[in-house]
């Protein structure tokens, strides 16, 4: 479980987003690189890694499905065994033309009108987590907004949607760590990481075969492409996607938004007083603290603005960096709760736009509304721990509650 790489020596030429220094300092690292004329950082690590850092370049890679394949979307020392165009976790790991076929199956259950009805259940969940914090004494009580709140919300919702036991939430967070964070290890260890998750899902799929019900797992087992049911690998791969992508991403977005409010009392006070700002504030949190950096593999050798990219090297898609590019956004490094023009890329750009974006937005909005509705004043009080790797968010977020509603 130890990294095979040492600390980063130079962010321009020895870039490593999994270095523990990266996520806590990401905003400064991007600004420094861009200001010093390095719009694409690089590294020999992981068998070759490129990291475009401007909105223009990130967008260009996201739209280019010829030179870049989605077969691998999490940078690691290994390479996925599953071949393009399907990849190990369709549709996120799929390329055209198969991508659209696989995506079309999953778009309807995540369309706004299917997701909106989840709001009351999510609200009840959030209120229950706040209740579980016990008696709060304003000015004295310190709670962990990541551990006691944010990390529990998306995992519960996606487990319910998939028809999995919500009591397995700790197991799911373990899978997320193994798949998303434990990437800089010996390649054999990396390749073995998927084993326990696949084994868990095989059991869940068997259980659904015996007891089919109204959930996404049963849906995926029954849905057809051209009259044929999906292969077991496709069903399981899509569940891997929904489970992994649906947990630490939104957990990070909720945590980062609360971190902002815990460190910017004026914004917190304003949001409490002007709830009509919420729609714009949520988008601004998503812009300024986008949690998800995606990745691609170079499909064929190409020259990307002077960078000699070789087949099978990794290319990061740091949407969070694109969202703070001063060439694209006015006042990019400042949070404006009422930012009216906001073409942020927190959910990606192009054909792989986050399938769960409607659910993520709903969870984020309800989670923030309920938290500040219960605790209209709170402040950071203790060290924050940030995640490692492609998903950026606080994993420990101690806040002192200073007022109750």
């Amino acid at each position: 479980m130890t990294s095979i790489y040492g600390p980063v020596t130079d962010w321009a030429t020895d870039f490593d987003h999994v270095d523990p220094e990266y996520n806590p300092n990401a905003h400064q690292i991007w600004d420094d690189l861009r200001e010093n004329g390095c719009p694409v950082a690089s590294s020999e690590r992981y068998g070759g890694l490129w990291a475009p850092l401007t909105h223009e370049y990130v967008r260009e890679v996201a739209y280019d499905t010829e030179n870049f394949t989605s077969r691998g979307v999490i940078v690691s020392t290994a390479r996925p065994i599953a071949e393009a165009p399907i990849g190990p976790a369709p549709p996120i790991t799929s390329d055209p033309p198969f991508h659209q076929i696989a995506r079309k199956l999953l778009l309807p259950p995540f369309a706004p009108k299917q997701i909106d009805p989840w709001e009351p259940e999510i609200r009840t969940l959030c209120r229950g987590l706040l209740d579980d914090m016990g008696d709060i004494t304003p000015g004295e009580s310190i709670i962990d907004a990541a551990v006691q709140y944010a990390q529990n919300i998306p995992v519960n919702v996606i487990a319910r949607m998939l028809g999995f036991p919500t009591t397995d939430d700790e197991i799911f967070r373990g899978f997320v760590h193994d798949i998303v964070e434990n990437v800089n290890v010996d390649p054999e260890e990396r390749e073995a990481a998927i084993g326990p998750l696949d084994a868990y899902l095989d059991i869940q799929i068997e259980e659904h075969r015996a007891n089919p019900r109204d959930d996404l797992t049963t849906y995926l087992m029954n849905v057809e492409i051209d009259g044929n049911k999906l292969s077991h690998e496709h069903v399981r791969g899509s569940i891997v996607l929904l489970l992994i992508a649906g947990i630490d991403t939104t957990w990070s977005a909720i945590g980062s938004s609360l971190w902002h409010l815990a460190t910017h009392p004026d914004d917190l006070e304003r949001l409490v007083k002007e709830p009509e700002l919420m729609t714009f504030a949520i988008e601004e949190f998503l812009r300024a603290y986008a949690p998800v950096t995606m990745a691609r593999l170079v499909a064929k050798d190409n020259d990307f603005h002077g960078c000699p990219m070789k087949e099978n090297q990794w290319v990061l898609l740091p949407f969070p960096a694109a969202n703070r590019d001063p060439e694209f956004f006015d006042d990019a490094s400042e949070v404006h709760l009422d930012r009216a023009e906001n073409r942020h890329a927190a959910f990606g750009l192009g054909i792989h736009r986050c399938l769960g974006s409607n659910l993520a937005r709903l969870e984020l909005r309800v989670a923030v509304e309920e938290f500040i509705g219960r605790f209209p004043a709170f402040a950071l009080d203790g060290p924050v721990t940030w995640s490692n790797g492609q998903i950026r968010g606080p994993r420990k977020l101690p806040v002192r509650i200073t007022a109750l509603a």
């Binding site: 778009l107 369309a111 706004p112 906001n342 073409r343 959910f347 750009l349 736009r353 974006s357 409607n358």
Partner: protein, 74 residues
């Protein structure tokens, strides 16, 4: 406004739309979404003057530049 001026017209490029759903959230009077989450333009021809601000908001929040106001660059 002169006798020759027209009202505002909105265009939606459904090929560019990837279902970010910002327009439907910000201007539901002008945009709906289909079963796949793709935007659907609700108004043909000139849009009511009181919805012009909302139309501009939808344009300014589409990450894919799928929405334009006729005669204006996105």
């Amino acid at each position: 406004m002169t006798a020759y001026s027209q009202g505002m017209r909105v265009q939606l490029d459904t090929e560019k739309c990837q279902g970010h759903n910002r327009c439907y959230a910000l201007a539901p009077e002008l945009f709906d979404v289909d079963d796949y989450g793709t935007a659907v333009l609700l108004v043909e021809g000139d849009i009511p003057a009181e919805l012009e601000d909302k139309a501009r908001l939808a344009v300014a929040n589409c990450p894919e530049y799928a929405i334009t106001i006729e005669g204006e660059s996105p």
